[in-house]
Amino acid sequence: MKIVLEPRPTPPISWLLMLSAASIFVALLVLGVVFLVAGLNPFSAYATLASRTLGDWDGWSRVIQRAIPLVLIGVGLVLAFRAQFFNIGAEGQLLVGAVAGSAVALFLPSLGFLTIPIMFLAGFIAGAIWGFIPAILKLKLEVNEVITTLMLNYVAATLIEYLITGPWKGQNQVGFSYTDDFPAAARLPLLGSSYIHIPTLLLGLILAVFVAVVLSRTRLGFRMRILGESIATARYVGINAVSTTLWVVMFSAGAAGLAGVGEVAGIHGKLLEPGQISLGYGYTAIIVAWLARGSPIAAIFTALFLGISFAAGDVMKVSLQLPANTTNIFNGTVLMLLIATEPLVKFRVKLEQVKLVKDAR
């Protein structure tokens, strides 16, 4: 007997959903083992998590709060991945977006109702510049973008550390490394008593629809799709690969910058430690984009799903006395399984009897 992989020309949607669900299920089993090791009953632990996240509006609001940056970044990454640019640097792009938004809030004279749009614009541009650097290095010098985008994450985090402990350290903050609080005009309106910052949420939804329309309905989107599928064909029809890729990457990175503005202006109201601004949204959004399998609209839903995972992390910390990072075990397992099951999307596994060649006489 031997195992044969048979190409599967058109994997049905149901099979894709099945594989994703199976990956998530296995990750839940792995997390269950972690609960056991920590001395918890996995069933009651899961019951607690479910009721505290999806059981009431309070839980749902925390899920949505976490999903907001994930939608923005996830949609951008869907676009970048489709253009074959493996942007692992959304975390850094988010952080520089937060820096640029904070600069507008803290240092520009009052702009009234224009403050918030200008903060978002600044965040988008800062993110786009952070994306431009690895993109141009890849396109002109063939520098691997996985390495450069990842390294720029640390540069961005270190930049914030420097700013909040040095030149931007707040005059009114005692004992903590924060900037001063943003003025009221630089704070995003929230939904009721939750931390759902409405403008960022809307931006995320609009962006998802916008990207979906661009991809399926515009000349630029068609160029991107050709380029993402086949560089040889793009060359053959005369598409400028450099400028197209550059625009895609800068847009993708700019979207992460928007998420950074949302976090500081919506939740914290100041620039603070990088680890507090983002709980690793830039990395988790990679899973959001992967689960969405190239569809910006699907990214809204996968972002919501990983929002549950983040909200569950908060519950673990508060109610189960586990480190909040426990969710990373779950997220990591899901991503690993999604990548590992990729061959099952493209191939059907069959067992085959090995035929022995009969000697011809």
Partner: protein
């Protein structure tokens, strides 16, 4: 007593879905000889050797090594039987040294085998004249030196039979001469060499015997001393079929003009040199030549995919030298690419989208920045009907179509703009008879309607059947341009082998 041949392959048959790669092939290799395995691309040379090296299992037939019947299940088994394989592109670890590469995969003790291997390398390089520094990292070696390492690797593992797959395709003429010297030394040592090639002069220079394959079958096994390149070319290419020739057409004004064009290959070495030619409205200029003699670069220079290092590319009054592919297409150059799956279509996009690849930025398919799906659809409906594209519907991903139907999609798209010049690279390669006839008819129709056609094909029958004139490329140079009526298969075969310079 006559010793048994080193290798005997008897009645080897190997088929793949849709094609019989080898059909009851017999092959014999004796000790102390170089056997050339000659044939066109797709004649079944490589698949036969893959059977011998244990990469493919034959459907039928048997293999004897030194008179004993054997079953070769893997390359490891082949190596165990003393069969070595030198691939066209050496399979070496570039960061490792020569000695480390040769030691790789050798059985032996737990300890680092490199010191032992070094002395073996010195011994073998002296014996066969294969000079190479065992401590040099592989990346620092030239293509010829890397090939020497690959040969040493096979010899160090005790190969008595060496298979070389188109070994000179990556070599300069001087390096090739060095290689032939090594092969002659191996003969003296009683080893056997199988040389896979389609180059006639090489065969004449180094082979003792020749086995010619055509369409999976052995069409001749002869002694080199009893034959000549002309006969070999005829055997390799096949009997001349009475071609369905193009009817005489009115040849019009010049459409494409190349003046002293030179260009580099992807590897940065000169690929075409000082080529001047002209294609007129209404004519089909066939370009014949063995693959890799500059055809690809010639096509790319004309279609805006490759810059020139010298010379001029003119389409009527438009200068297309060093333009990009979109400019060339807009000027009226259609391109049926050689690599139809990777370049000609995007497999995951639909039939309708692939049909619009050229025109989607024009007002035909878009309104401002927005695409017009209705225009895609109506264009696709028309193309599917006109070109008889067999597809479930226009939204089917094109990769699900058969090769012939994919080619029809490409033709439909490229011909839709009424191009002045059609550059067709191997337009019927791998297609069935019906699709082949349709593509050939389309090219002739367009020529009759006043387009200029540049047809590059390895199928000499096709070139002779369709062309008004035939140009032959050898080693990046234009060997000659022959009028169809003056063209003979033998004459072209010789030009293809770089034998003779003719100007008509």
């Amino acid at each position: 007593m006559i010793a048994a041949p080193l290798v005997e392959m008897l009645g080897i048959t190997k088929s793949f879905p849709g094609v019989v790669a080898n059909d009851s092939v017999n092959l014999e290799l004796r000790a102390g000889e170089v056997l050339a395995l000659l044939g066109e691309n797709g004649a079944g040379k490589s698949s036969l050797m893959n059977v011998l090296y244990g990469l493919y299992r034959p459907d039928a037939g048997l293999i004897k090594v030194a008179g004993r019947e054997v079953s070769i299940r893997s390359p490891l088994a082949a190596i165990g039987l003393g069969i070595g394989f030198v691939a066209q592109h050496p399979l070496l670890v570039r960061r490792h040294t020569v000695a480390e590469n040769i030691a790789l995969g050798m059985r032996g003790s737990f300890w680092n085998p490199v010191p032992k291997v070094r002395s073996k390398i010195f011994e073998l390089s002296k014996k066969y004249g294969l000079e190479v520094n065992p401590d040099a990292p592989v990346w620092s070696l030239s293509a010829g030196e890397q090939q020497r390492v690959d040969i040493l690797k096979a010899l160090a593992r005790g190969a008595k039979v060496l298979i070389l797959d188109e070994p000179t395709s990556v070599l300069t003429p001087q390096e090739a001469e060095e290689l032939f010297k090594v092969l002659r030394r191996m003969k003296l040592e009683g080893e056997g060499v199988i040389l896979i090639t389609h180059k006639l002069d090489e065969v004449m220079a180094v082979a003792d015997r020749i086995t010619v394959l055509r369409k999976g079958k052995v069409v001749g096994s002869l002694e080199t001393s009893q034959t000549n390149p002309t006969d070999l070319a005829a055997l390799m290419i096949g009997r001349q079929l009475e071609p369905v020739r193009a009817s005489a057409v009115q040849v019009g004004a010049s459409v494409l003009r190349l003046e002293n064009v030179s260009a580099l290959s992807d590897r940065g070495v000169p690929a075409i040199e000082n080529i001047s030619l002209e294609v007129c409205a209404g004519e089909v200029l066939g370009v014949a030549g063995v693959a890799g003699n500059g055809q690809r670069e010639l096509i790319e220079v004309i279609t805006g995919l490759r810059g020139v290092t010298a010379g001029l590319v003119m389409l009527e009054q438009t200068n297309l030298t060093n333009v990009n592919a979109r400019v060339a297409a807009d000027a009226g150059v259609a391109h049926i690419p050689e690599d139809r799956l990777q370049m000609g279509v995007v497999g995951n996009l639909s039939v309708a989208e692939n049909l619009a690849l050229r025109g989607f930025e024009t007002p035909v398919f878009s309104n401002g920045q927005f695409l017009e799906p209705a225009a895609f659809e109506s264009f696709a409906q028309k193309a599917v009907a006109e070109y008889e594209i067999a597809t479930p519907n226009t939204q089917t991903p094109v990769r699900l179509l058969s090769g012939g139907n994919i080619q029809k999609v490409i033709f439909a798209r490229e011909l839709s703009t009424n191009p002045k010049l059609i550059v067709a690279a191997h337009p019927t390669y791998g297609l069935d008879a019906g699709a082949t006839a349709q593509m050939q008819r389309l090219l002739l129709e367009r020529a009759a309607a006043g387009a200029a056609v540049l047809l590059v094909s390895e199928d000499l029958d096709e070139v002779l059947a369709l062309s008004t004139r035939v140009a032959v490329l050898f080693d990046g140079r234009l060997m000659g341009v022959v009028k169809r009526d003056a063209a003979t298969r033998e004459g072209i075969g010789l030009l293809m082998a770089g034998r003779e310079l003719v100007t008509v």
